[in-house]
């Protein structure tokens, strides 16, 4: 700190205050920018470059430019398409579930009531917990013999031989329930912030005009929340496409790779037995493209809605 101060101070004097401010700003921002370039930007660029190379970690002598070879192999692999489809399926269903439950939760927590602080603290809980640990916890609860769910079903006299993580469909449902549990509170918090920015007098005016609660919801609440809704949907979609911890901890991608999404596939190819950095990078590039396509679609949607508004 003192050194920077001395350097900056020494250089400041001969120049005007404007130049000295710019100079100081440069030195203050430099460490952050250098670090971000090294730790965030460089790896992304390197991934793109490696996707066009033959590069297997265990065979470092044999690295060469291979054009689109990795991508050719990738589109011919069933495992890639399984992961691709599961990524999309998981994202669409998880985001839809998180959004609906989160919205109801936001409307609930928006009200003034005794104990609201408690409900809000409870809401924060799932979101603040480490994702992978919650996934392991749920795996424990989903256990078919000793788990909380089957055990409770048995106490209730219901069918309790459900092998939650044993079939692709059930494992997907189990994963989606966990995904909704984990994230609906975040959705709720953002929507709640939006709800509370709606001016009260708009509702009062609607009351005077005799608009009912349903009408008010669709004509006031929803339109006012549009920006918050878009933010939530974009963030959740991008995050869900990158989901790794939650699947790794709950199903590990199983049963028989049925719940393996693109991030798990990247990990398996890059760090599993394959250690195929070139191929793993190509899958990463495909994931990039998927995220990009979703982002464009949302931007289009938002733009169109705005032009009608």
């Amino acid at each position: 700190m003192a050194v920077v101060e001395a350097v900056v101070g020494a250089r400041r004097r001969p120049r005007g205050p404007e130049a000295s401010e710019a100079r100081l700003a440069f030195w203050l921002i430099l460490p952050a920018v250098l670090g971000l370039v090294a730790v965030s930007a460089y790896p992304v660029i390197q991934t793109i470059l490696w996707s066009f190379q033959h590069y297997i970690l265990t065979d470092p002598q044999n690295v060469y430019f291979s054009g689109l070879r990795n991508f050719q192999r990738l589109v011919n692999r069933e495992a890639f398409w399984t992961a691709f489809k599961f990524s999309i399926l998981y994202t669409v269903l998880a985001v839809a579930g998180q959004f609906v439950v989160g919205f109801v939760l936001a409307l609930t927590a928006h009200r003034e009531f005794r104990g609201r602080g408690l409900v809000r603290a409870a809401m924060l809980f799932p979101w603040t917990m480490p994702t992978v640990i919650t996934a392991v916890t749920w795996r424990f609860m989903y256990n078919d013999q000793l788990g909380f769910f089957n055990g409770s079903l048995q106490h209730l006299g219901l069918p309790h031989q459900i092998i939650w993580l044993g079939t692709p469909t059930l494992a997907t449902i189990a994963l989606l329930i966990l995904a909704v549990w984990k994230v609906n509170s975040f959705v709720a918090l953002v929507l709640l912030a939006g709800l509370q920015s709606i001016p009260k007098d708009v509702y009062e005016a609607a009351d005077v005009d005799g608009a009912g609660p349903v009408r008010q919801f669709f004509s006031i609440t929803l339109p006012f929340l549009r920006a918050a809704i878009m933010v939530v949907l974009v963030l959740r979609t991008v995050e869900s496409l990158q989901a790794f911890d939650i699947i790794y901890g709950l199903t590990g991608g199983g049963p028989s790779n049925a719940t393996q999404n693109l991030p798990l596939y990247i990990y398996q190819q890059g760090f599993g037995e394959a250690l195929n950095f070139g191929f793993g990078s190509a899958v990463a590039v495909m994931l990039f493209i998927v995220i990009f396509v979703f982002a464009i679609a949302y931007t289009r949607l938002l733009y169109r809605e705005e032009s009608y508004a």
């Binding site: 921002i29 991934t47 349903v214 990463a284």
Partner: protein, 298 residues
């Protein structure tokens, strides 16, 4: 007063006001249904942790009992003893603490300096810097994993704390800069100028005047960053192949006990892992909400 400007409209909810359409307090029936829903949500959010807590005090006989038992009898601390003494969770706890605290500190220092420059200094190209920083936060970590692993390997940083401290510091940096520059922008210029008139340099004024005043902003950013670091899994899994260097999330995810179902040990370890987070939620609830929603709402 600065609090008000930084905090998203959530705080405004404190002011008694009208409620969302469609869920108005109406007749008694509506009110009961409403309370029921609030309770359902609270229970839904908390029951997995409650179950883990109960399980952590159960002897093995309870954990494997059929049909399921809900309460430990007798409650025992054996699982905690085992997790900390036989199983290496004390070590994992230490690893997590060192990495998270170091990275949070480094991130706050860098974000404080950069955030100050962005909020208070005039320079050309500021918007490009901001856009660049924001873009960096959108790169998916999974797409950076392989090259970062390679770099860590080349510099012999795998299996050291640096392999996590460095990426954590910079992965949380955009968020921290974003939060802090918004906070620093609202501090009155007079305060700083008064100090500078007294002969203090600009950075001296930053350190002696701005930082103490903006402590709440630093705390908010620090909490968000710490929670991110404490919970991070992907890098910790990949950059610390040596079992002794695992952080808590990795340690729990990869724990293989000597029993078929080491749930007792895992439950105890999970309960311990969650302690700092529960404290943060209880003490800093509003700051946490602020930090989480500020980035999204702005």
């Amino acid at each position: 007063m600065r609090e008000e400007t930084l905090r998203p409209p959530l705080a405004a909810g404190r002011v008694r006001g009208r409620t969302a359409a469609g869920l108005r307090p109406g007749r008694v029936g509506g009110r009961t249904a409403f309370y029921l829903m609030a309770i359902v949500f609270a229970v839904f959010s908390l029951f997995p942790m409650a179950w883990i807590l109960l399980s952590s005090f159960m002897p093995l006989a309870d954990l494997t009992a059929q049909p399921l038992v809900y309460l430990p009898h007798p409650p025992t601390l054996d699982n905690y003893r085992f997790a900390l003494q036989q199983a290496p969770f004390a070590r994992y706890y230490l690893n997590s603490t060192v990495c998270s605290l170091s990275a949070t500190f480094a991130c706050l220092v860098l974000a404080g300096l950069a955030g100050y420059a962005i909020a208070r200094l005039r320079f050309r190209g500021k918007q490009y810097v901001l856009v660049g920083i924001l873009m960096a936060s959108f790169f998916p970590p999974i797409t950076q994993l392989i090259p970062l692993y390679n770099v860590m390997n080349k510099f012999a940083l795998l299996n050291t704390y640096w392999a996590l401290i460095i990426p954590y510091t910079f992965h949380t940096l955009p968020m921290a800069i974003w939060l802090l520059s918004a906070y620093l922008r609202d501090i009155p210029r007079d305060l700083e100028e008064a100090a500078m008139v007294d002969g203090t340099s600009r950075l001296g004024a930053f350190w002696r005047v701005i930082v103490p005043i903006s402590a709440p902003g630093f705390i908010t950013a620090g909490i968000i960053v710490f929670v991110y670091d404490w919970n991070e899994f992907l890098f910790a899994l990949t950059f610390e192949p040596n079992a002794a260097m695992r952080t808590i999330p990795v340690g729990i995810a990869l724990y293989q006990g000597q029993f078929t179902y080491p749930w007792g040990t895992i439950s105890a370890a999970t309960a311990l892992a969650v302690v700092p987070l529960v404290l943060i939620i209880l003490i800093f609830q509003r700051r946490l909400i602020t930090g989480l929603t500020a980035g999204a709402v702005k």
